[in-house]
Amino acid sequence: MKTFKLGGVHPEENKISANKAIEVFPLPEKVYVPVSQSLGAPSKVVVEKGAVVKTGQLLAKGESFISANVHCPVSGKVTRIDDIIDSSGYKRQAVYIDVAGDEWEESIDRSPDIIYEISADRDTIIKKINEMGVVGLGGATFPSHVKLMVPDGKKAQYLLINGVECEPYLTADHRLMLERGEEMLIGTAILKKALGVEKAFIGIERNKPDAIEHLSRLCAKFKGIEVMPLKVKYPQGGEKQLIKAVVNLEVPSGKLPIEVGCVVNNVGTAFAVYEAIQKNKPLIERVVTVTGKSVLNPANFLVRIGTPVSLLIERAGGLPEDTGKVISGGPMMGKALTSLEVPVVKGTSGILIMPGQESKRTTVLSCIRCGRCITACPMGLEPVLLAQLSESQLFEKAEKEKIMDCIECGSCHYTCPAGRPLLDYLRLGKNKTGLLIRNRGKK
């Protein structure tokens, strides 16, 4: 069974909502659509206060190469354009919309028919993906069209579709593969065409045997797409780890996957690509897992972007009495929310509600130099050393010790028997070291 070699940990899987079919979430009364939902430059708002908008209409335009369009997820009236606290805890500009009816742009094909034939050519595909605001739905929200524009001198050889979902608790990708497998595979074929590659692999961990079986059967219809079952190990879904596991290539330090001829996209992204190209539908909704040990009805919702998280929790049975922490994303890399009124954005893969006693960090003890963080690091770094260097503000040294290679997977902190917040130090160190590198470039 294939997997990545270096490091990794085995957190409890807790995939409580794995058997819950995707449920279409009812339209909310209000949505808040942040203008900046992806990596890169913020987009520019193109509607005004008071405007009447339709579902699928452009709300904000991405103006630089690395930025993405944002579309209207509902129909109704723009009431405000103002700051809102988003899931990262920062204030961001957002469009406030009061929902009225559900009127869609006419150009969008809303029929349930699956369209198999890919008529768009390479350039049209890339242009359309850009237009439709498709970004990476695995969490990093990197604008998808950028990944498809292979730089001169490089050549894409493999397309990897990430169906690993190695984060505990989350099941959104799992359900999507089971219920929208065919569309997802057509999306994969579209991405293949855009990249001009012969071979695509869909990496799925062995804890989802139903998805592996289902997609393997469907793959017979598609040329050059193969399901690759992988051993369960966190962080298998890390881009570099997935490439290592599936095609046994190592992305060099500081480089992108295209360096070894690979492009990685999430299964959710592949599905969004299908909708964008075949159905003319912008990215205005996504599957979000709402889960937690004390949650009454864990669920996988198909939610319009901009829907407040509090509504999702309400529908899953309400906020449990013993709630200590609400996390956007999974327990390993997710962000703890400061408020439940934050809206669902393109990068929201799940809402995890953790009981109070599990929410508190353990007491921080002295490092006993056991080296477990080093063993666990999937990038072959020494978190204990990097944390020390960050604490002592020795960032030049930290750079030499490859602090910028850290993928912030959290395996080091997870595995530390002394409960040391290693990743906190590493994030701080990465930030400062990055600043150092950028300033050096300016001189």
Binding site: L249, L319, S366, T415, G419
Partner: protein
Amino acid sequence: MSLLTISGSPHVHTQQSVKSIMYGVVIAMIPAIFVSVYFFGIDAARVMLISVLGCLFFEWVIQKYLIKGPVTINDGSALVTGILLAFNVPANLPWWILIIGALVSIGIGKMSFGGLGKNPFNPALVGRVFLLISFPVQMTSWPMPKALFAEGITDAITGPTTLGIIKEGLSAGKTIQEIMASPDFPGYLNDMMGVQGGSLGEISALALLLGALFMFTRKIITWHIPTAYIGSAVIFSGILWLIDPTQYIDPLMHLLAGGMILGVFYMATDMVSSPMTARGQIVFGVGAGLLTILIRVWGAYPEGVSFAILIMNAFTPLINSYFKPKRFGEVVKHG
């Protein structure tokens, strides 16, 4: 609604803690504890009790009244040091020497460097070597264990350790074969079971291996140091034995006699004082194996495990900075 907790990811944590690791080591030492009480009787229990209480007491006093900081005597680390110190001394050691050993182990070996995690040397070995040098007579008068299934306790009889018999015999001009043929020599099976003179915790290889197996399954220790240590000791002693079997004992005897098994699995693997990377741990183990045999064969003392581990402890920071883990993306492979 009550306030939400905010913290950086990750939001889940492994069950293993410093405490669970330390008490895991204690559990692993239980078979050897039983063996020592079986062979040395109440004396063994007395030595262990004094040593453990001494270590806990000195850690408490120093943390509470000298450092005036938090007291962490229940984290299990002083308990481990106490048992290991007891394992490394003869069962008839006077109580006041034990108290001095506990003070040196905890006070000098551990707390003077800043407590758990900061000590460069294994605290129990610091105490043991201090006692060995300061009280050579008491530290090398070994009570003999009773025969395997004998009734009662054979107290008051003292004798040399297996390695001591060999060293003495060789310096008297005998060959290994002559030494091993003498009726006093314990032999392989007795060394395995624990019927040999020695420190109270080192005598039974079997009991120690049982505990080591537990530590492996609980992932308290990894294979790197033990394998490298035993491997290099076996290879080095094996080469000597092949060159002249009349002057050098065979590798198996090296493993079963003396404190090799105790040192390899319980002291060389001490996380605090051994290297952190897999590569570094292998270098550490190989070095300790070579030094052990070197000291046993050519040194003044019949036993070399304690010194070998302490010397390698001193190299640990150097090993840590030279033997880095293999970085991801370091070796560029194009497919």
